[in-house]
């Protein structure tokens, strides 16, 4: 069931277009991430959903009702800020109770709800502390508990993990997933971190230059990106140039070999194409096997922990990165010519830009 529908939304600031032609619907209980580089418009959309900025054009509907111009306080959306924005003069418990006092709940009910929220985020023994006495991770938990306390229709999160260090960020990702599962609240999450988006979301809307470039489940966007931007933004990728074979309309010629690939009918022989292949799909070595074979020269071999990154130069002079599991290794030396194989299913073909 569609909970939130965004129709043809646009926002311009003094001739600068921040958002344009945004259409997005969010199902009840979904975890949707707005992903994009900074300045791509994702935060502007989140602010419009919260009611902090007024869109120049378009409609936001909640359960079919137009809420585009509703005051933030009437929307019943929770908001988790980058940098938390906890009330510094109030204790943890009173921060969480704020929305309940505003709603004039009875004291016993407020106390019960605050206790419930504290145990939900695992801060039971910190109820009396002031925000400045807490660590970053603890403050973040309070901010989430505060935003969830009144039972919001939607929880909006603006880069909530960006201030935390890497270890804590991974813990909090799991924590947020758990909270999403346990509360059943719909999450709309803004981030510029594609790993975070892939790890947490049911669906990702990828933003660039104020538009949604693609929307879909992380797996689909990663495996079958429809645009050059998404193919490059989500995960690591190699882009190589190729062209459609003159003599066979199902074949592509690229990096010194030819192979059959899913081509669009509108592409004509000789058309320049962009071929992408993920580093983890390039296999090295003489191991027999099917797939597209070609030769490349090792340029550089670097060890980065779980994997080894091998920079290759193809016979057409283009460079590509292959990642191999470290234990599968590493007799590859710069200058060495190696046999490479790629599973045809792992190759993507995009019209050249």
């Amino acid at each position: 069931m569609t909970l939130l529908a965004i129709e043809d939304l646009a926002k311009t600031y003094d001739k600068v277009t921040a958002l344009t032609g945004i259409n997005l619907s969010v199902e009840a209980g979904e975890f949707v991430t707005l992903l994009g580089p900074s300045g791509s418009g994702k935060t502007t959309l989140l602010m419009s959903l919260a009611g902090f900025t007024t869109p120049s054009k378009g409609t936001i509907r909640l359960d079919g009702k137009d809420i585009t111009h509703l005051d933030p306080e009437d929307r019943d959306f929770g908001f988790v800020f980058q940098g938390y924005a906890l009330f510094p003069h109030l204790s943890v418990a009173n921060n969480i109770a704020f929305s309940l006092k505003v709603r004039k709940w009875e004291k016993a009910r407020i106390d019960a709800r605050v206790a419930e929220m504290l145990s939900l985020v695992g801060l039971d023994n910190l109820a009396g502390r002031k925000p400045r006495e807490l660590s970053g991770g603890q403050q973040q938990r309070v901010a989430i508990a505060r935003a969830l306390a009144f039972g919001p229709r939607i929880l909006l999160l603006d880069e909530p993990l960006s201030a935390l260090d890497r270890m804590l960020r991974e813990t909090m990702q799991k924590e947020l997933k758990r909270l999403h599962r346990e509360t059943g609240v719909t999450f709309v999450y803004v981030t510029h971190d594609q790993e975070e988006a892939i790890a947490m979301s049911d669906r990702i809307a990828v933003f660039n230059h104020g538009r949604i470039v693609e929307i879909g489940p992380p797996r689909d966007l990663y495996k079958k990106p429809a645009t050059h931007f998404v193919a490059g933004f989500l995960g690591e990728n190699n882009f190589l140039s190729g062209h459609r074979a003159d003599d066979d309309e199902t074949m592509v010629e690229a990096f010194g070999t030819r192979f059959s690939a899913p081509l669009q009918p509108r592409e004509r022989p000789g058309d320049v194409l962009t071929i992408w292949v993920r580093p983890e799909h390039i296999r090295l070595g003489p191991a027999p096997g099917d797939g597209i074979g070609f030769r490349a020269t090792v340029v550089e071999n670097s060890f980065v922990g779980a994997v080894e990154r091998i920079l290759l130069r193809t016979s057409t002079g283009e460079q590509m990165v292959a990642t191999l599991r470290s234990e599968a290794h590493s007799e590859y030396k710069p200058g060495q010519v190696v046999e490479c194989r790629i599973d045809p299913a792992a190759i993507g073909v995009l019209p050249s830009e």
Binding site: F87, F98, V102, R103, A147, L156
Partner: protein
């Protein structure tokens, strides 16, 4: 070895004490003068006397009424200037943009314009509005003079406040007035208190403009002192200075005690 603070080292230390002496010794002189047994400004000759303090308490001498007048005007001025200062500072903070900066320059102009020029202008204006020598007239003038102080003090504490607290409170369901009362005000209370105190003090010892716009009806303490200096130099002046000095010192001690207790609680 721990490096010694620079204040403990030879010459700077002597200089620091000289400076403190230069600041305080002239002030302390008023205390013996207030206790003089003569009718003119002098040190005690044949013994000390409390007669000049007694004169302060004598209603008919005019010291006590003028103190009450000043206190009343200063309280009214502090209340109004603080309320206006909070309204302006919070509004400018929340709105942002170019017009609050313009307004701020306008509000701070009383600090830049010499009081004597301001006074001459106010005499003309108050004469036309029949506000000369009235409590309302004095309070209004003092409010204008105190407004820059309250706006600066409150603005300083607002500048440390995260703008997103307002958004956070609204997303939690608070209406703008609730946001003001429950979120903004509690966080800027020290600035508001400082602004109110500054406004009170500014009104309490304002003399230049007050001299021009008051006559017989409104006699503030600075005006009463001014008058007594013109007549004859009365040792009661030293007595009143002593009283004010004691009050100020007590207030400062109280403040540092409160601050220490607050710091211990953290």
């Amino acid at each position: 070895m721990r490096p010694r603070p620079i204040i403990e080292v030879g010459l700077p230390r002597i200089l620091a004490w000289c400076l403190l002496g230069f600041l305080f010794v002239p002030i302390l002189v008023v205390i013996p003068v207030a206790l003089t047994d003569r009718d003119y400004l002098s040190l005690p000759q044949d013994g000390i006397s409390l007669q000049h303090f007694a004169a302060l308490a004598d209603w008919s001498k005019g010291w006590l009424p003028s103190m009450l007048t000043s206190a009343g005007i200063a309280l009214a001025c502090a209340a109004i200037a603080t309320a206006l200062g909070v309204a302006f500072a919070v509004g400018a903070w929340a709105a942002g943009g170019w017009w609050p900066s313009l307004m701020r320059i306008l509000l701070l102009s009383p600090m830049i314009v010499p009081p004597i020029i301001y006074a001459v202008g106010m005499v003309k204006l108050w004469a036309r509005l029949s506000l000369l020598d009235s409590y309302t007239g004095v309070v209004l003038v003092h409010v204008v003079l105190a407004l820059p102080l309250t706006v600066l003090a409150i603005g300083a504490s607002l500048s440390n406040l995260d703008q997103r607290l307002v958004q956070a409170a609204r997303s939690l369901g608070a209406r703008p007035m609730t946001v003001f009362g429950k979120v903004i005000l509690p966080n800027i209370l020290p600035g508001v208190a400082a602004g109110a105190l500054l406004a009170f003090v500014a009104s309490w010892d304002e003399i230049t403009v007050t001299l021009f716009i008051t006559g017989r009806a409104v006699v503030t303490l600075p005006r009463r002192i001014w008058t007594s200096i013109q007549d004859a130099v009365d040792p009661a002046l030293a007595a009143i200075a002593t009283v004010l000095l004691v009050i100020t010192v007590l207030a400062l001690i109280a403040r540092s005690l409160i601050e220490r207790r607050q710091r211990q609680r953290l």
